[in-house]
Amino acid sequence: MTGNIVIISMASMGGIGAALSLFLAYADKKLKVEEDPRIEALLNILPNTNCGGCGRAGCRVFAEALIQGTASVAGCVAGGQDVADNIAKYLGVESVKANSTVAVVLCRGGNKETVRNAVYKGERTCVAANLTGGEKACVYSCLGYGDCVRACQFDAMAMNDNALPVVFHDVCNGCGACARACPMDIIEMHPVERKLFNYCRNKDKGAVARKICTVSCIACGLCVKDCAVEGGIELKDNLAVINYDKCPQDDQPTKRCPTACILFDEEEKMTKEAYYASLPRKAV
């Protein structure tokens, strides 16, 4: 009797196992995996933050583009050089230098510097505030509600006590999310090497601009005169515009800027640690 059971069990289980294996073998033959396994592999290399810095709707799309060859291996700005190298290695192609950019906040008119005409009531985000006139007399200025900071997935920004955003240059990987989030187009992406900026976007006439903000560009033209090369800086729409193609970037263009809105090498020092160290200690 027992022997019988053992045999029956072995036979039936063996049989089921055999049947299953045949079935699976058949299934395996009939149906090959369709998805390119390389996509998964690339996703493992990519940061998977879906920040959109590559200009695509998320990391998976970028990975697909890489495989199709429509994207540069250095296309992932958030990943930087390391990721570019790894992708290149995986795909077996030459790595490219990742052009690293960094976000620059082109407005210095915080609470202390600008005149406020009104009191804003409503949702405290920049996009929402921008639907109304906003509070500041300067209609080109940073609104100060931190949409950019919230957009940054990498904690590379903070709003300072003057209600202006600060970018930590050691953390920012140039994904550009903040620039896309800003309704005032205050934030621009620039190559990290770039050091000279006009930190003002006000297109009002000098006389008007001077009245509403202490650090606005008043289009006096001193920087244009002091510029080392012809056309390195131009005045456009009451604003000094730096022509980066021509600007040699090796020296400060002027020390005479009356509102000190055109500055050299200003942001470089701002690291995350330095910023938080500069804050007054919070009582716990």
Binding site: I8, M10, M13, S21
Partner: protein, 194 residues
């Protein structure tokens, strides 16, 4: 057939066969123990509901394709003392299985034992408690068992329902009535006494 398929075939077949074998072996050892446990439990239950019984006999009948089993309790002298049988039916949640002991005079219960139930702990599952089970000792089954609420039973065929678990109490009573009726019909006294 290619190499991979062969390998798959072999691996699965062997794993299947080996596990089948192991299981059969374990079964061989464990099954008697399991059966013994079951038997012990059954026996215990029968002796609880038929306290005078020292042994029992299994009587089986097939009615309408349904097998009905009763256990005839026999005392030390070999005289039948009563019938034990299982009453099974729905409770508040899930089934309630009760071993019912019927006196050989076919008028009174000798006791019951709740074997399985899924009633709410602390509520319905108090049907398992001796206070409840003991109410059935000597309970008259004619015309049928009844329950009443909030009060002490007044008639010899009544028990008091558990407060807050009327449904479970009701289910026990109903199950017993059903099972008793079935047994009375299919195992007439004369036949059992034989």
């Amino acid at each position: 057939m290619n190499n991979l398929a062969t390998k798959m075939f072999l691996v699965l077949t062997i794993i299947g066969a080996v596990s089948g074998g192991i299981l059969a072996g374990v079964f061989h050892v464990a099954d008697p123990l399991i059966q013994a446990n079951r038997e012990k439990e059954l026996k215990e239950a029968i002796f609880v509901v038929l306290p005078e019984a020292k042994d029992y006999k299994v009587l089986e009948k097939e009615v309408d394709k349904e097998k009905i089993t009763v256990y005839k309790g026999i005392d030390a002298e070999g005289k039948p003392v009563g019938l034990a049988f299982i009453a099974d039916g729905g409770g508040f949640q899930g089934n309630i299985r009760i071993m019912v002991g019927l006196n050989i005079d076919y008028l009174k219960l000798k006791g019951i034992r709740v074997l399985e139930q899924n009633e709410t702990p602390g509520l319905g599952n108090r049907i398992k408690e001796p206070q409840f089970e003991d109410q059935f000792k000597g309970l008259e089954i004619k015309p049928k068992v009844e329950y009443i609420k909030y009060r002490k039973p007044e008639k010899p065929n009544q028990i008091q329902a558990i407060t807050g678990a009327t449904i479970s109490s009701d289910a026990v009573v109903k199950n017993i009535n059903n099972a008793v009726a079935k047994v009375l019909k299919n195992f007439p006294q004369e036949e059992v006494l034989k």
